[in-house]
Amino acid sequence: MTPVFEVSRLSKEFGGLKVSRDISLAMAEGERLALIGPNGAGKTTFVNLVTGRIRPNSGHVRLDGEDITALGPEQRVRRGLVRTFQVTRLFPDMTPEEHVIMTVLQRHGKAARILARFHGDSEAADEAADVLATLGLTEVARRKVGAIAYGQQRLLEIAIALAQRPKVLLLDEPAAGVPSADTPRIEEALARLPASLAVLMIEHDMDLVFRFARRVVVLAAGELIFEGPPADVARDPQVREAYLGSYAHAGSHA
């Protein structure tokens, strides 16, 4: 079976500094993969390479067997490679409902219509209501996003991504900044993601990674240094060194 998502020998350097070296990974349909790594490991660069924000020096990205390396970000999204953002990127003056309706309209090719009312498309409104209900956001669907809790904003990021009907979903630290009391709701939402969807989660929180992913890859200094089940990660000497080294420099929490 061909992988739904494949990165092969992806490399990127900025002015001689190699921030991604020969990264290769493949994901099957429905897979739950986590990518972890200490600060400065090149996770952001990796996300930017995969989503098409920056071009690699060498290597390929394939989606559903198609080489998308040369495509821009919008084309990748349209083909089903969808991401969420580490820091929520939402419109504070719009409601969650409006965010999702806009997303659905785009999928239907109606997002830029002038001779229509935004709130007049009942098909899009119904679909948006369904997605918001799935994530438990019905109650706040018509409040301004600026006025809802951060945990709910994170859920809305996921709702928007789901409304795009992705084949591959890139979750960039989906629980970052959420108060610990609200993380169970995020985890619950992640557990209920469509079974056929391939999900790549980039995350710091090891507890979350352990509960979510069947397989983990570790990125350090731009290279993949580990691949395997979550249970083996902590035992791997190379991973320990990469993490301890970085924590020794940063002098932060364990």
């Binding site: 919008e74 419109f91 719009m94 409601t95 806009m102 997002a111 935004f118």
Partner: protein
């Protein structure tokens, strides 16, 4: 009205449409009040309406797309000159002239957008200035077509509906302009509440988020430039029909800058501010310039500084806040 304040969490949404109708009613009332109260100043009021159309068109670009422009008069001037030239060449039907002006403005908007959207931020602003200066110079040099620095004059538009002459009193011109303004305003309220309008607001706030939805910014923004051009061109055509002269000032940097000042004065991003700002700026200019022709700009400058300091959202924004405080609405949906 009363039940709208009792929390509108999951109710239907008659709100925005009702508010727009109310807004249109207010504009019509204000316009008619101007007609009845200042019968000797109708020429000035008609010019005010044509500039209001220019400022409205600028709000589409600045307020809804987040693109600063100091060259908006290029679109206005294109409408004015084209309508003027058409009128001198035998096309005298006023509605047709407005359509011609709108089309010319839209075409110019397409070109202007295509150039300006290549850049971002300050370079984009500089491009807008360069474009209006270029057009200004072109209008100056092509005197065989535009009359050069003398401008165009001697246009005689046909009577409105074949009945109402564009006479010296300017009654027909004013009511014609007021009608145009109401129609344009109603259409624009629909445009900004369409999916396209929401998308523009999104692009203004966070282009990366919109890109992550798989949407290209360029065609959306270009479309707005075309619409904006049509509105500005309508304003220009109205000026040409009403004053029956078209001068180089209609395609000047100064008019562009004034339009931006009026917009900021009134408040950006909801169209009402454009009207409020135009009325206040031009009324101030009219009254103060009559009293002291040399220092009126000083007063306008002082007023502007006060507004930026004390009401950064513009005058209408502050009114909005005040109304919000008074009515204490719960969850207000998009404007």
């Amino acid at each position: 009205m009363a039940e709208a304040t009792i929390r509108s969490a999951a109710a239907s949404r008659p709100g925005p449409l009702l508010r727009d109708l109310l807004g249109l009613g207010l504009i019509a009332l204000g316009g008619l009040a101007g007609y009845l109260l200042f019968p000797d100043n109708l020429a000035f009021l008609t010019r005010l309406i044509s500039v209001a159309l220019l400022v409205l068109s600028l709000d589409l670009i600045v307020g809804y797309c987040g693109i600063a422009s100091l060259g908006q008069a290029a679109l206005y001037g294109a409408g004015a000159y084209t309508a003027g030239i058409a009128c001198l060449n035998g096309v005298t039907e006023p509605f047709l002239l407005v359509l011609i002006g709108a089309a010319a403005g839209a075409m110019t908007g397409l070109l202007m957008g295509a150039v300006m959207l290549r850049a971002h931020g300050l370079p984009q602003l500089v491009l807008s200035i360069a474009l209006v200066q270029l057009l200004h110079e072109a209008a100056n040099k092509a005197s065989w077509l535009t009359g050069g620095s003398d401008g165009l004059s001697g246009m005689v538009p046909a009577p409105l509906f074949g009945v109402f002459e564009f006479d010296l009193w300017g009654r027909s011109a004013y009511l014609f302009g007021l009608g145009l303004l109401l129609v344009v305003f109603a259409v624009l309220r629909l445009v900004v509440r369409s999916p396209f309008g929401m998308l523009c607001r999104g692009l203004k706030e966070d282009p990366l988020r919109i890109s992550a939805l798989g949407i290209y910014a360029f065609p959306v923004l270009l479309k707005m430039f075309v619409i904006s051009g049509a509105v500005a061109g309508t304003g220009g055509a109205l000026a040409a029909i009403a004053t029956q002269v078209v001068g180089l000032d209609s395609v000047s940097f100064e008019l562009s800058a004034n339009a931006l000042v009026m917009l900021v004065l009134g408040g950006i991003g909801h169209l009402y501010g454009a009207l409020v700002g135009t009325v206040i700026f031009m009324a101030l200019e009219h009254v103060v310039a009559a009293a002291n022709p040399f220092h009126w700009m000083t007063l306008v400058g002082a007023v502007l500084i006060a507004i930026v300091l004390f009401a950064p959202r513009g005058l209408s924004g502050s009114l909005d806040q005040l109304a919000g405080l008074l009515t204490r609405q719960g969850g207000r949906a998009g404007r």
